[in-house]
Symmetry: C2
Subunit: 234 residues, 2 copies
């Protein structure tokens, strides 16, 4: 094999860290590998990139094949390219994370034979390949990004309460061991002062306590503010 040929004995893949939020913890959707290498281990959903496929498109495809969802929030994080990261050959992978509303996910569509399951991010065990490292990178990027742009709402249903929103931020931002929480009054003051939440004049139903008001994220307002030089910060 010539040296030039050997440059092409390699492949690239994408791996997708799919985040969800169940009201309590931040979750990540993992699949259990059905074949070697790492058979039986939990892993990030991913696939080789087709020859005529953009990286972003490949990541969207992986997401859609697993969840049936399209048009969700998806962002590249970085490439992982250690020589020995894949036992069967040289495979560079590009990591993405996506944010979905966990209720939109209907368990295990036929297209994927592997069993997929939500795992609490703080409790995923030992994953296949370098997927623990990839997950860690994606989490770090999510933590940074969720404070600088209003992407947290991608994880919530269209109508939500301020308490749900706060729990979402806490599940992402508060280190597992820390027992500190975000101050309720300060959080509400800050988030409402952005004027990005639309009060729906509705309340929760069927809860065994005072029902909370429901809000909606006002995307149009956000686009408009952005155009005026606004920058989200929470």
């Amino acid at each position: 094999m010539s040296e030039v040929e050997s440059f092409f004995k390699s492949a690239f893949s994408v791996d997708n860290v799919i985040f969800g939020f169940d009201g309590g913890d931040l979750k990540v959707l993992l699949i259990q590998r059905g074949a070697a290498p790492y058979k039986g281990k939990w892993a990030l959903p991913g696939d080789l990139v087709y020859p005529n496929e953009d990286l972003d498109t490949a990541a969207e495809r992986v997401l859609e094949q697993l969840t049936g969802l399209r048009g969700v929030y998806l962002e590249q994080v970085k490439a992982f390219g250690a020589v020995d990261r894949h036992p069967l050959g040289r495979v560079i992978t590009v990591a993405y994370f996506s944010l979905i509303k966990i209720s939109d996910y209907t368990v295990t569509p036929a297209s994927f034979a592997q069993s997929a399951k939500w795992h609490t991010v703080t409790k995923v065990g030992d994953l296949a390949f370098d997927h623990n490292e990839i997950l860690e990178s994606c989490l770090k990027k999510l933590r940074r990004k969720v404070r600088m742009t209003p992407i947290g709402f991608e994880l919530l249903p269209p109508k939500f309460t301020l308490t749900e929103l706060q729990q979402l931020y806490e599940s992402i931002l508060i280190p597992p061991k820390s027992k500190k929480r975000i101050d309720k009054r300060n959080f509400r003051k800050k988030i409402l002062s952005t004027n990005l939440l639309h009060d729906l004049n509705e309340v929760q139903e069927g809860v065994a306590h005072r029902p909370a008001k429901l809000y909606r994220f006002d995307r149009n307002k956000y686009e408009q503010l952005i155009a005026e030089g606004y920058s989200f910060d929470i």
Copy 2:
């Protein structure tokens, strides 16, 4: 050609955005392409990744071949993988940026035939491939990172004045058209309050005005503070 084979008719490269600072503007080191495609155009230095080479190692190698420098600040930004980004085939590239002290760079070592030249980042013209997009991404990451970690010092000589440091921050952070500058007193107050600058008790020599005091970045102090939970922010 089987479908499996076609997955391997592809290659990966690294491209390196090498930043420097000359006391006035933020600069980027570009090479003029000597061969097709884009012959004669300015481009980011880069190369295919060797089969047994980690991505990071490839980026270090590109940097060293061009500048002779090792052990400088280097950071991956992201992968660029549009199908048509390379006219000769499917090449995914991983972008890095590095920060070097411009005075350490001795022009065009023999190893690189191409002519290399520093360009003011705000005045690079139309680059080869998708290199304008890559440069833009790296700049964005540099702008974010330079405020969160003390990497600016990588661009300065070991001894520097506070005015030089301020000009560095301005060259990176102030948008080209904006005429606002950073407030001198506030900048000095803030940077000195970190206690990361060591006053060398020396002053500039041979300047036709009041000489400024020289400082050194105290890396040990920084490591120590980091261990205590400190986080840089300017």
